[in-house]
Point group: C2
Chain length 534, copies 2
C-alpha cells in the first residue's frame, strides 16, 4: 500500500499544512513518507464533510449500518503483514500482540453490527393517543434515539488499532449513526493511514456516504480546532489526564458546549485480603506481576496500586512479587515521549520521602518491572500522589494497618476504571461496606481476577468517575458505548407514514418497544384496525 500522508475529507484527500513524520518507536528513525498538519481550513472541511453526511447516514436502516460495520471488520481482517510490520515499527509492540489487536478491532465492529441489528439502543417508546381522556386528551407520542451528530475522535497511543482509527469510539459512533472525524494519533500515523484506507474501502463497498469517515493528521492545536468546530457534537478520547481535561475544558467553553467522553487516568487499586495471600500468595505474586508488565504496563487498567495488610505473609508475598516483576522481560515502550514520561513519573515517586524502590529493571533502553513500596500514611496524604497514574510497568505497594484502612482509603479514593479484590467469598461477604464504597468510585469491580485484559462485550464497563473519565455515565468499551452518542427525539401526532420506521405502527424493524408502558414486539394496531374492531 502507498502511504500518502494526506487527510481524509469526505471523498477527497488534502495536504496543505506543515510536515509531520512517523518515527520508529525504538530508533527514532524517520519514515520516508511525510504527513501533514491539518490547516484550519482542512479541519473545518473535515467537520463540514461529517456534517453533510449526517442526514443520509442517520437515516440508514439497521441492516445498512450493520453491513457497513461488517465491511469495515472484513477490511481490517484483511490488513496483512505489511500493516502489522508498520504498526510494530511505530509502537514497538510485538507482532503477535498487534495481530491479536487487529482481531479485537474487527470483532468489536461485528459486536456493534449485532447491537445495531438488535435495535434495543433505539429505546423506541410509543404512548398512543387517548382522545377521550379527561380533562385533556392525550396526544400520540413516539420517542426513539438518534445520533447526536458528528463525533470527534482522538485515538490512544497504546492500542494503535483497537482504541484508535477504527477503535471502540469510532465503532460506537458509527453504530449510533454519527459520522466521525478522527484525529490520527501522531505516534502511529502510518498505522492510522492503513486503517483509514480500510474504512474507505468498506464505505465504497457498502454505499455509505463518504463523509461518514474523515481523518486528519496534526498536533494538539489541530485537535483543539476540531473540538471547537461547530459541526462537532461530541468527543471521544483516550489518553492522558492533562490532554483529556484540556479538551474537556475547551468543549465546555464552546458557545454550544458538547459532551466529552475522555478516558484518562486510573491506578486501578488491588485490595489483597489476608486470606487470599495465605491461600495462594505465590500464585498471586506471579499473576499480578504479569498484569503489571503485560504490554510493558501501557494499559489503562494497569494495576498501579496494591494494598495489603502488614504481616509476615504479606512480607513474603512482597518478596515474591518483587522477584516476579524483576523477571519480566524488558520491553521497548511505545515511543520516546512515553519512555521519558515514565522515567519522570517514577522519579517523582521516588523523590517522596517514605517511598522505596524494591525492583527496577531496565536494559538497553527497554523497561522491565518496577516495584515501589510506600509508607501507609502516604496513601492518605493530601496530594494523593499514590493515585497519580504512572504509565508503564510499575506498581506501588502499601502495607496497611488493618482492613479498616481499606475502608478509609475507599472513602477518599478518586474515581478509577477498576478496583480488584483478591479475597475469599467469605471476605467479600464480610466486607460488604468496602464493596459498597468501591461501587461508587469505579466502573468495574473484579473478584479474584486482574484488571488488564478488558473484554469487549455487552456487560463490560470501561469507564468510571473522574478522573478515570470525564463522564461516569459512559463506557468506551462494549456495546453500551453506543449510548454516549445518542439523544432522544419525540414525535407528537405524526402521521404514521411520516414517522421513522422504528416508530411506525407496523414495527417494520421488529424492535422491542415500550408501548403504553408495556414492552412488546407487536405491531401497534393502526387507526383503521381499531375502527374496524370497534
Amino acid at each position: 500500500m502507498t502511504i500518502l500522508g494526506h487527510h481524509y475529507i469526505g471523498d477527497k484527500r488534502s495536504a496543505q499544512g506543515n510536515l509531520l513524520y512517523s518515527v520508529d518507536a525504538v530508533t527514532g528513525e524517520r519514515h520516508p513518507v511525510s504527513f501533514h498538519e491539518a490547516t484550519e481550513a482542512e479541519v473545518a472541511a473535515a467537520a463540514q464533510a461529517a456534517h453533510q453526511a449526517f442526514p443520509a447516514f442517520r437515516a440508514s436502516s439497521p441492516a445498512e449500518r450493520a453491513a457497513l460495520l461488517e465491511a469495515i471488520a472484513e477490511e481490517i481482517d484483511a490488513l496483512g503483514d505489511a500493516f502489522i510490520a508498520a504498526a510494530s515499527r511505530e509502537t514497538a509492540l510485538p507482532a503477535a500482540r498487534l495481530e491479536g489487536e487487529r482481531k479485537r478491532t474487527s470483532n468489536q465492529m461485528r459486536m456493534f453490527a449485532a447491537t445495531v441489528r438488535r435495535g434495543d439502543y433505539l429505546d423506541a417508546r410509543i404512548d398512543r393517543a387517548q382522545p377521550e381522556r379527561k380533562p385533556l386528551p392525550r396526544p400520540d407520542l413516539r420517542q426513539y434515539r438518534i445520533g447526536v451528530g458528528p463525533v470527534a475522535i482522538f485515538g490512544a497511543s497504546n492500542f494503535p488499532i483497537a482504541f484508535s482509527v477504527a477503535g471502540g469510539d469510532t465503532a460506537s459512533a458509527l453504530a449510533a449513526g454519527c459520522p466521525v472525524v478522527v484525529k490520527a494519533h501522531p505516534g502511529h500515523m502510518v498505522t492510522s493511514e492503513y486503517v483509514a484506507d480500510a474504512i474507505e474501502r468498506a464505505i465504497a463497498r457498502s454505499g455509505a456516504p463518504a463523509g461518514v469517515f474523515n481523518m486528519i493528521y496534526g498536533t494538539a492545536a489541530t485537535g483543539a480546532a476540531l473540538v471547537w468546530a461547530s459541526q462537532i457534537k461530541a468527543v471521544g478520547f483516550t489518553g492522558s489526564l492533562a490532554a483529556g481535561r484540556a479538551l474537556f475544558d475547551m468543549a465546555q467553553a464552546r458557545p454550544e458546549p458538547i459532551p466529552v467522553f475522555a478516558e484518562m487516568s486510573s491506578v486501578n487499586p488491588v485490595f489483597l485480603l489476608p486470606s487470599a495471600l495465605t491461600d495462594r500468595g505465590t500464585q498471586i505474586a506471579r499473576e499480578l506481576a504479569a498484569s503489571v508488565t503485560v504490554g510493558c504496563g501501557q494499559l489503562c487498567t494497569n494495576p498501579g496500586l496494591v494494598l495489603g495488610i502488614r504481616s509476615p505473609t504479606f512480607d513474603a508475598f512482597l518478596a515474591e512479587f518483587g522477584t516476579a516483576l524483576a523477571q519480566a522481560e524488558p520491553q521497548a515502550m511505545l515511543g520516546t515521549g512515553i519512555h521519558d514520561n515514565f522515567r519522570r513519573g517514577l522519579a517523582s515517586l521516588r523523590a517522596i520521602p517514605g517511598i522505596e524502590a524494591l525492583a527496577a529493571v531496565e536494559a538497553d533502553g527497554r523497561i522491565g518491572g518496577h516495584l515501589l513500596k510506600a509508607e501507609r500514611d502516604l496513601l492518605f496524604a493530601q496530594d494523593r500522589s499514590l493515585e497519580e497514574e504512572v504509565f508503564g510497568p510499575s506498581t506501588v505497594v502499601v502495607a496497611l494497618d488493618s482492613v479498616s484502612d481499606f475502608l478509609a482509603f475507599a472513602e477518599q479514593m478518586r474515581g478509577q476504571l477498576t478496583a480488584t479484590l483478591l479475597a475469599s467469598e467469605t471476605d467479600l461477604q464480610r466486607n460488604a461496606r468496602l464493596v459498597e464504597l468501591l461501587e461508587t468510585k469505579v466502573g468495574r469491580l473484579l473478584f479474584n481476577g486482574y484488571p488488564t485484559g478488558v473484554e469487549v462485550s455487552d456487560a463490560i464497563v470501561h469507564g468510571g468517575p473522574y478522573p478515570a473519565t470525564t463522564d461516569a455515565r459512559g463506557t468506551s468499551v462494549g456495546s453500551a458505548a453506543i449510548e454516549r452518542f445518542l439523544r432522544p427525539v419525540c414525535y407528537q401526532n405524526y402521521p404514521n407514514v411520516s414517522l421513522p420506521p422504528a416508530l411506525r405502527d407496523a414495527n417494520p424493524w421488529n424492535l422491542t418497544r415500550l408501548v403504553d408502558g408495556v414492552s412488546t414486539r407487536d405491531a401497534v394496531p393502526g387507526k383503521r384496525a381499531l375502527e374496524a374492531a370497534a
Copy 2:
C-alpha cells in the same frame, strides 16, 4: 401548617443565615414568616446528609423505592386548600391551574414508581463466563446501572409544584436511587416548605433514610455553593439561559466536573404551511393565541416564533391572530422580577428596526397577549435576536418569501425544545428535508398541535440541543428523565451471593435482562444447575 423557614438537612432543621422573605406576587407584600439564606456550613451539611443517605438508599429494592415515590404522591395529593392559596399568593397562578399542577406532580411520582417497578432502566446485562474460550477464557461479566450520587436540584419559577421541590427532577433522581438537595426557588418558598413537609412525612412513613431529601433556602450564591459541593454528582435545573449557563460553567470548572441538565431557553418555532392556513386559518389563529397566552405565556414551550409564507391568506391569518391575542384575559405574572424582564425583553425587540408591535394588551399591571411582526431578514440576522426567549405571553411572526426560507432557517436555527408544523399530511411528505433538519435541532416535533401542554409519559421528550438545554441527551419530563442520573457499573467474576439482586442468577426482581446478547426474563442457570445437567 406552621411555616418555619428553616432548611431541611437530613432529619434536622437549621436556620442560621440572613433573612429572606416570601412576597405576594401581585402586591409585593411580605409574608409574616421569614426564611433563611443557607450558610456555607449549612450547604455543606445538606450535601453531606445526602451523601450519607446514598449507600442505604441506592441499595433499596424497586418495591421500596416505588413505595417511597407513591407515599410522596399521596402526601402531595393531600396538600389542601391552604397550600393552594399559599402557592397562588406567591405566584399569582389561579387556584384551578395549581390544583391541576398538584395532580400532575403526584401522577409524575406514580409514573416513576411504575418505571422503577418495571426495572428496564437498570439495563441489566450478563455475559456468562466462557472458561474454554481460546485464546483466552471469558470472565463472567455483569452490568447494571446505579445512581450517580447526590443530585442538586433547582426548581423553576413557573411551575411551583410540578417543576419544583417534588417535580420531575426530584422524582427522577429519587427513582434512580439518588438523594437530592433542593435549592428552593426564592419566588415560592412557602409553597416549597409545604411540599418539603409532605416529602418528609412520606420518608418517615416509608422508612427511607432522612437524608434522601434535603432542602435549603437561599440566593444565587447559595446555589453556586451547592453546585460546588464535592458530594454533589449531578445537577438538575429549569430556568433562564443566563442562570443555567452560569451553573453549568461552575460545574464544569469543579476539580471533578459533573453533569448538568439545565433546561433553559427556547422560542419553539411554529411553521405554518400554506395549505393549513387555507384549510383552517381562523381555527389556527384562535388555538395558537391560546397556546401563546396560557399560563400568561410563562411556559418553556411557549410558541415565541411563528413563521409563515407571505400571501393574502397569511395576512388574513395575522389579523385574526392579533385579534385573538388581544382578546386573551390579562393575567398577573409570577412576580415583579419576571414582569420587569418581560417588559425589558419586549422593549429590546421593539427597538429593533423592522419589528412592529401589532397587539399589546396590559391592564392594571396584568399582561395580555402581545404580537410582534418582524421583517424576513431579521430571522437570518447575525445576532439571532428573534431566537432570544422573551418569557411571557408574546410571540413574533415573520412572513417569509417561500418554503425554501423555512429550510434556510431550520439549517441555522439554534437548539429548541420543540418545533411545530401546522400542515397537511401531503405537506409533511413534501417537506421531508425540513423535518429532517428540525429533528437535529429539537427534542420534540409536533404535527398539527401546539407545543404547550407537555404530557408526562414514557415517550415525551422535554429537552433538546443547546441552548434549549445544556445536554441534548436528557429529557427533564417523562420516565426517560431517570436516565440522566444513572451510570453503569460492572462486576467481574463475582460470586452470585455477593452480586446485587438485579444481576443474580435467579433474577429475583424479575427483570428483562440481556443475557449473552439475548433479551430474557429467565433465570441464568447457576453453576450447580449446569453441573447437574452435565
